[in-house]
């Protein structure tokens, strides 16, 4: 499928979905707040954009997830590389990282609320925690998966450990680094919405949770759509191009 064909197919899918939604919404004998038609969602979007609420809440959520992304890059990736460089250390760290990766930030939220209170701090800790562990874990796996031959070959060319890290381990682990960032940020995005719902300090999560109290169903749906669309755009414009330019180009993955 070419890009144009794909765009066309997505357009048709979306149109069909909106049409079906309109029909069902018109047919259901219930108050409008139970299942508002798509037009109501568009109206809500227009209103919230005009008032500046939606852009502000989106900016708040993005600021939080991007903070976590930066922390993952400057802290998670180096820690994963360091742990992965020795087989013994990697074997020791593996179950520990696995444990913390599985206890998501959402499960930590009740405890974090006690420790850090109902505010920005809890949200940031929960999101950073959720992003960090899958990143460290996958970077470690990536380093361990680089064939040892590559490093051995470089040693016979006179390479130092630093040189091997730079020329072999980092590029060789790049597919897993990207996987770690993709997974970590996806988990983090969910944890962020959950934390915003509980803490309510602006952001898309707090928007949809507050809307529920006022039966503003269209606003809830708008928030949900925004959450999904933002992730799709992030993947399409940032993660994908990065992969295409690096390891997909090197033949390390097959599409």
């Amino acid at each position: 499928m070419t890009r144009t064909e794909a765009a066309l197919a997505w357009g048709m899918l979306l149109t069909g979905f909106l049409a079906a939604w309109s029909l069902v919404a018109a047919a259901v004998p219930a108050p409008a707040y139970v299942l508002p038609p798509p037009t109501a969602v568009f109206d809500a979007a227009g209103e919230l954009i005009a008032k500046g609420i939606l852009p502000f809440y989106i900016a708040e959520s993005l600021r939080r997830i991007l903070t976590a992304a930066v922390v993952a890059l400057v802290l998670g990736v180096p820690v994963g590389l360091a742990l992965g460089m020795s087989r013994r250390v990697a074997e020791f760290a593996y179950p520990v990282l696995n444990f913390f990766q599985s206890v998501s930030g959402i499960a930590w939220l009740p405890l974090m609320l006690v420790w850090f209170g109902f505010g920005e701090r809890t949200i940031l800790v929960a999101v950073n925690y959720t992003v960090l562990f899958p990143v460290i874990f996958n970077v470690l796996l990536g380093v361990r998966s680089v064939p040892r031959m590559y490093g051995d070959a470089l040693r016979t060319l006179g390479a130092s450990r630093w040189r091997i890290l730079r020329d072999v381990l980092v590029p060789g682990a790049l597919p897993n680094i990207a996987t770690g960032l993709r997974l970590g940020l996806a988990y983090g995005w969910r944890a962020l919405i959950a934390a915003e719902m509980l803490v309510g300090a602006h952001g898309l999560g707090s928007m949809i949770f507050t809307a529920q109290a006022f039966h503003l169903t269209a606003r809830i749906m708008l928030g949900m759509a925004a959450i999904g669309v933002l992730w799709v755009l992030f993947d399409y414009f940032i993660l994908r191009p990065f992969e295409e330019a690096t390891f997909a180009r090197w033949g390390l993955v097959h599409r």
């Binding site: 031959m149 590559y150 070959a153 470089l154 016979t156 060319l157 040189r163 690096t246 090197w250």
Partner: protein, 289 residues
Amino acid sequence: MPPKIAVRGLHHAYVNRFTRERVVALAGVDLEVAEGEFLTVVGPSGCGKTTLLGILAGFVVPTRGEVLLDGRPVAGPGPDRGVVFQELAILPWRTVERNIAHGPEIRGVPRAERMAIVRRLVEMVGLVGFEKKYPHELSGGMKQRVAVARTLAANPEIMLMDEPFAAVDAQTRMTLQEELNTIARATGKTILFVTHNVEEAVFLGDRCCVLSRRPGRVKALVPVPVPRAERTWKRVPAEPGFEATKDMVLTLVREEVSGDERPGGERPGAPPSPGGWGGGVGGVEGGAE
């Protein structure tokens, strides 16, 4: 003058990380390689050929015995010994020219000089026009040419080659063997070339070292009575010395393959143990007997 490489009383034992078995890979190897000599090492699968090469390269510390280069003991891997690996060890994220230039880059050779080295070697191994390609865009034979060129670019005194042509098709292999012979003669490098292919060993070597089955010892050293200048696949079949030497080496190797299995250690013919060199972390101290 001491020999370029002297191997004295080399023993090596290690514990296989996965089966926990103690493997005696080498049990008393003595060997000398002269400056500029092309020595091929042949033997049944699992006879410790790769371990021997790993020790020479400096990746594996032997349990006992020593390796001297120009009379000095080896301590770890170094750029004086270039290794061409069994598996493709060129980096997938570097283009052909950046792979070849890697050794000079590590040594800090200026860019212009590096590019001159690359141009000369790309020409020598027949990769002109492929400089900007990534390894996954090349055939198996071309990847091996890159590996050989990368090692030559580092200008080592000794080249250690571990079955470098095992994974390419028969026609390509013959071409690569002829090219390697030409390159070896042109550069005058001391080469130790490990293979399980008897015909290849006799075609390439000044001498052919036959190892016994595991635990490996030197069973025989067979000189090949055909001048290296005459070594082309068109000419050698007509050389009486070539066929006779090949038959002799083949007989020596087959005696080892058909022998009884020995207790302790892997069966002959079993794939080499994972973990490559058979050493490093799991190495065992003490005697091999």
